[in-house]
Amino acid sequence: MRLPRGIRIERRLELPRRTSAALSAVFILLSFLVASAVFEMMGVNSVRTLSTVVSVFLSPPSLLQAVQRGLPIGLAALGLSIAFRMNFWNIGAEGQIYMGMFAATGMVLIHAYYGLIPEPLLMLSMVLAAFIVGGAYCLLPGFLRGRLDVNEILPTLMLNYVATLFVDFLVYGPWRDPQGFSFPLSIPFPQYARMDSFLGHSSYLGLLIMVVIAFLVYGLMQRTTLGFEMRVVGQNLEAARYAGISIFRTLLIGSFIAGGLAGIGGFTLVSGLIGRLRPRASPGYGYTAIIVAFLAGLNPWLIIPAAVFFGGLLVAGETIQAALNLPFAAVQVFQAIIFIMIIVAEFIKRYRVSIRI
């Protein structure tokens, strides 16, 4: 390491959990400071911007909205926590969310146009379809990686654009609502296909789903042989091969589940927040999910609060947009700054930097 004389970087042993959590908190606060600086440089009132963010978490109605926005993020992040533990760099949660929306909407249309799915089973079929289609969409890059050793980063990224365009095609074309004044929208979902038909607000059902899935993901990764295999594959491919683990099979299953969970995230978006399919329905939830997964240190339980936090940022973003006439991009910048701070915090946790004169 070539640094000015006197600065040394050393690897340190594991930090106690509490110190580590405190460090993360300090760095999130720091990112508020950095973000304020950036906003001020652009001539944006940072105090008002940041106070809007804080106020979101203080009022129950907007907190519910935060949960609602946090659902697709959290579910996708739960999937990513599996993929990343497997060292499978799925950057394609965004596309998998779109495919989940497509599948869930497809079930509604099959129900509405052909009456093939009975009403009580509709929601369940939407969730399942979203899981399967989202999973299948992630299976392709998983297959390419496992069989042909094609690195998954670029394929998953490319498939994001493809999925977005595919949904565009559907809502501008065959799935456009005939009574929709030629707006690019699907038919509105019937009430029984909406998440808020249960428990009043879609956040409640959504939170329930998220907790159940976090539980399942935790159990899968920590308690089962399959999860053990995935973690070994993520740690050291050579060790996995030597342990008799089928890397190909593990990659396929892992990528399918990861994509499937993002797909369910897509379901919560159309069935919860929007109530129909429309183009560009996700403002980058799949990318935010990557940040959330890292913020939570890939821990399924921590993903839930982290996702709600980022959901809150999005809600704040909308308020800011309306009240301060700021672009949505301000939220993106804020997200990116938090992201960078999180990874710098990881560095501080792993290494000790000391200055000697």
Partner: protein, 510 residues
């Protein structure tokens, strides 16, 4: 006769690694114009001592003088500017670059724009001078191991090295290439260079060196002119005792072989035929040693025997059951344990010690029911195993990556010996490579214990002494074939050594 200049003088060098005293007050002098052999067993501290001279390690104590001036060598860069060059066992070349590019990389005297015409011409002259035939424009990946070594030597000479260290240079060479190398070394010495030859092979030392320094357990025992000594004396100095008479052992009870391979053909990573036609039988309670210069197909053979490499032709039977090209999980389930070299490569560093212990046995009914792992049992068992195998770790919950090298090797052995209740075969590849004396003895004891329980063991080792000590039978491999087989009563250094160079067993006897 006026005595030649001392190029290097190392005084009382001490170097400690966690758990190992690698150099214990070692001293070494290199004169201008000599080939100086540094002789010792594996782990005697030869390479460490020379790595210190090359700046890769800093000594804990001791002084280094180069051409009479006391120096501090902080890194290879310092060493190079002092005129020290080193050719490592693992070549440090860039395969996709040309010979010329590999030689001049980092050199300051070539100008910003590289005139390859002129550079190649200069290099060609140098190559011709040493009687070699490589072309400066070839890509390094196209070269043989011997030619790559020539590039490494050129690289050092190009930087004006007067002191050249070669670490076990013949381990990758054919006998013919070895002859060429030794001619080169003599030529360089006659030019006034000082050459250090690190080796554990007595015949080489006798053949090429002017003086020899023997190392044992980190100490430099003696330095002598080569012509005033002989192989027998050197062997005695190296080992510290006469090679002990091997205990006579009853031959392994014949019967049915536990592992049987016939007509194996195996490809290496590049798709070349590494194992040409090998058949072997391993019996219960037998240690079968595999000898050979590294790179003659041994690695591929043992990987195939544990299911990690596909065979192109031939059959593998385990207890009479055909296992050919079955997934490695099947081999594990049927009780084939595999102790690999470089155990670090086969650990999951961020996972816990306990998780690493069950890395291959997690499917076992002891540790998991259906798809669920019973972590309580795992950690209870792991605690016991850690105690049994003396693995030094704060707890079974600590990360395996924080263990020291010797402890990781213990962990791997613990993992393999606890693979399941009924282990039939252990395949051990260089199990004591890079270990200190205590750990080596530990590994060897564990293998003998397993043999006494009736397990069949295949032992691959570069260390003939280890093979002789442990094996009931030795087969020697050369270029993908078995060239000879010796029972314990006929073990003989010279015989095995000859076979390793490709002389067939029958001819040796004659």
């Amino acid at each position: 006769m006026e005595s030649p200049e001392k190029l290097v003088e190392m005084r009382s060098i001490t170097k400690r690694f966690p758990g190992v005293l690698a150099n214990d007050s070692a001293s070494f002098t290199l004169l201008r114009g000599e080939v100086h052999a540094l002789l010792g067993e594996n782990g005697a501290g030869k390479t460490t001592l020379m790595n210190i001279l090359y700046g890769l390690y800093t000594p804990d104590a001791g002084e280094i003088f180069v051409r009479g001036r006391r120096v501090q060598i902080r890194g290879p860069k310092d060493a190079i500017s002092l005129g020290i060059g080193m050719v490592h066992q693992q070549f440090r070349l860039i395969p996709t670059h040309t010979v010329a590019e590999n030689i001049i990389v980092g050199a300051r005297d070539v100008g910003f724009v590289l005139r390859f015409g002129r550079i190649n011409e200069r290099l060609s002259e140098l190559i011709k001078y040493y009687g070699w035939s490589i072309s400066p424009t070839s890509k390094v990946w196209q070269l043989t191991a011997g030619e790559k070594q020539q590039v490494e030597i050129l690289k050092a000479l190009y930087r004006g090295a007067e002191i050249l260290i070669l670490d076990e240079p013949t381990s990758v060479l054919t006998p013919q290439e070895t002859v060429v190398l030794f001619q080169t070394l003599r030529k360089m010495a006659s030019q006034g260079l000082g050459v250090v030859l690190i080796s554990h092979k007595l015949d080489e030392v006798m053949a090429v060196s002017d003086r020899v320094t023997v190392m044992r357990r980190g100490r430099t025992i003696v330095t002598k002119p080569t012509r005033e000594t002989n192989q027998r004396e050197l062997a005695f100095l190296m080992v510290g005792r006469e090679l002990s008479e091997l205990e006579a052992r009853p031959m392994a009870a014949g019967g049915k072989p536990v592992l049987e391979a016939s007509g194996l053909q195996i490809l290496d990573d590049k798709g070349l035929l590494a194992v040409k036609n090998i058949s072997l039988r391993l019996f219960r309670g037998e240690i079968l040693g595999v000898a050979g210069v590294s790179g003659n197909g041994q690695e591929e053979l043992i990987e195939a025997l544990v299911g990690l490499r596909k065979v192109r032709a031939g059959k593998i039977l385990l207890d009479g059951v055909e296992m050919t090209n079955r997934p490695s999980a099947d081999f594990i389930r049927e009780g084939v344990a595999y102790i690999p070299a470089e155990s670090l490569r086969y650990t999951a560093a961020d996972m816990t010690v306990a998780e690493n212990i069950i890395l291959k046995s997690y499917r076992n009914r002891r540790f998991s029911k259906r798809i669920f792992i019973n972590w309580k049992t795992v950690y209870d068992e792991a605690g016991k195993i850690i105690k049994d195998f003396n693995i030094v770790t704060p707890s079974p919950f600590s990360k395996a990556g924080n263990l020291s090298g010797g402890n990781i090797q213990r962990l791997v052995i613990a993992r393999e010996l606890n693979l399941q209740d009924n282990i039939k075969v252990i395949v051990a590849a260089y199990p004591s490579k890079g270990l200190d004396v205590a750990s080596t003895e530990f590994v060897q004891r564990k293998l003998v214990e397993a043999r006494e329980k009736g397990v069949g063991i295949i032992l691959l080792s570069e260390d003939l002494e280890e093979l002789f000590l442990l094996s009931d039978r030795i087969i020697v491999m050369y270029r993908g074939e078995i060239v000879g087989e010796l029972p314990r009563q006929q073990f003989d250094l010279e015989k095995v050594g000859l076979m390793m160079t490709g002389v067939k067993g029958a001819e040796v006897k004659a």
